[in-house]
């Protein structure tokens, strides 16, 4: 996953969790479009706005490979947005909110977390972030620093293809997929049940996590999902 900062020509307000459409046009006119969630907070830079996109290299991905292998500083990109609205967060103090991200699904959730910090919101937030290995923990330093400095921010990083030996001495780690027991345990540590849970990641990840939450009794309408297909 790589981060790209794009400066927008005009001030473009957006809400934490929204995405932009990127459209690339080849010299012969062929076009391809994909959607990418903004990972920066709405407060990052106003007037004109700049946005940070976290783009994961997809095998055979024609747009992600352009960003990872071809784009250079200063290149112009056609953007449209902000788009979407159901997967956005605004503080609903003082109830805790849970966010569960798989891989690049961290992008819109990072925007929400940064927005929460920017507005000094104190409502508890639990982030469960699933990645394969230590090297895949994008935003690691920022998230760990926030977890140390903000008593209301709780972080669990679930490493699915790593073991305790290679990640020894690192706090906030669990060495398993995010399973029902891990969620149940994390929720039991919250003072009150979460008012809402946001889940973002690949389809099968989101499907599994949403089912765990339903099994644990979370109300259907307390769960918002953003699924990256396929």
């Amino acid at each position: 996953m790589k981060l790209f900062t794009l400066e927008l020509p005009i001030n473009t307000p957006f809400r934490a969790g929204q995405h932009f459409d990127v459209r690339l046009t080849a010299p012969d006119g062929y076009q391809a479009q994909r959607s990418y969630s903004v990972s920066s907070s709405p407060e990052l830079s106003a007037n004109p706005t700049s946005i940070e996109l976290a783009i994961e290299l997809i095998s055979d991905g024609e747009v992600s490979s352009y960003f990872h292998e071809a784009v250079e500083l200063g290149d112009k990109i056609e953007l449209r947005g902000p788009i979407g609205g159901h997967f956005t967060w605004s503080p609903i103090a003082p109830k805790p909110v849970v966010m569960i991200a798989g891989g690049s699904g961290i992008a819109p959730i990072m925007s929400m977390i940064r927005h929460r910090s920017a507005i000094a919101e104190k409502a508890p937030l639990l982030l469960m972030f699933s990645v394969r290995t230590e090297a895949d923990i994008i935003f690691a330093t920022e998230l760990e620093s926030l977890a140390v400095n903000d008593p209301n921010f709780h972080l669990i990083i679930a490493l699915t293809r790593s073991d305790e030996i290679t990640s020894s001495h690192r706090p906030m780690r669990q060495f398993s997929r995010i399973n029902r027991a891990m969620i149940e345990s994390a929720l039991s540590n919250l003072a009150v049940p979460p008012s809402h849970t946001y889940i973002c990641g690949g389809s099968s990840f989101v499907e599994a996590i949403a089912n765990h939450l339903l099994d644990l009794g979370a109300p259907n309408n307390s769960i918002s999902t953003e699924r990256f297909g396929p």
Binding site: L24, Q31, S65, Y66, D75, P230
Partner: protein, 200 residues
């Protein structure tokens, strides 16, 4: 705007064209705004309403007792993927209306799902064989994550109009926005005219 270092890897091969801005997908991605709904066939029921009046309700067995229609079609999702040559079985909205003994009112329809999802379409786009309630995909019972036991299918519009876990159709005189339409997605959603967002 030309991106000089972009050449594109997914150009469609010779074959049927796909709508502008789409790419071909072999899999069947799942994109829902919330959890997959847990709808039991034994308790599933579907109703048609005209304004505030319910004019017909059907159980799972009722639906299966109606004339079944097979449909071979392409799907187009607003998130840019298209999937060609999908096979569905279900019941046309025409057959449901006939079974209830009513003519489709003009105007618009609001489709509502278990779980609270809604989406709006003109009446003309669900009648004359254009809209179906489907329960079978590729010869197998429709999986819950794809909208099973029963979803609406209106394949000539972007797929968000084909509400999963369908529960009711409500005929209305005036058009009203559904779930995604309120968030800035197009009121009609024709992929061939690339009507993704409100002012497209």
């Amino acid at each position: 705007m030309i991106n000089n270092k972009f050449f594109g890897r997914k150009r469609p091969e010779q074959g049927r064209p796909i709508p502008p801005g789409q790419y071909l997908e072999d899999g069947f991605p799942v994109l829902s705004a919330g959890p997959t709904q847990r709808v039991d066939k034994a308790t599933w029921n579907f109703s048609i309403e005209i304004g505030d009046v319910t004019v017909g309700t059907w159980t799972w067995d009722d639906l299966n007792a109606l004339p079944q229609t097979d449909l071979h079609t392409d799907l187009h999702c607003v998130t840019k993927w298209s999937k060609q040559d999908t096979d569905w079985r279900g019941v046309t909205i025409d057959a449901l209306l006939a079974n209830a003994g009513i003519e489709a009112p003009g105007g618009f329809v609001m489709a509502s799902s278990y779980g609270g999802y809604t989406t709006n379409v003109p009446t003309a786009d669900v009648i004359d064989g254009k809209g179906l309630l489907v329960h079978t995909y590729d010869g197998e019972p429709l999986e819950a994550e794809h909208g099973g036991p029963v979803r609406l299918l209106i394949p000539h519009l972007y797929l968000w109009k084909s509400a999963k876990w369908i529960r009711s159709l409500k005929f209305m005189d005036k058009d009203e926005p559904g779930f995604w339409e309120r968030y800035g997605y197009h009121m009609y959603g024709d992929p061939w005219r690339e009507q993704r967002y409100t002012n497209d």
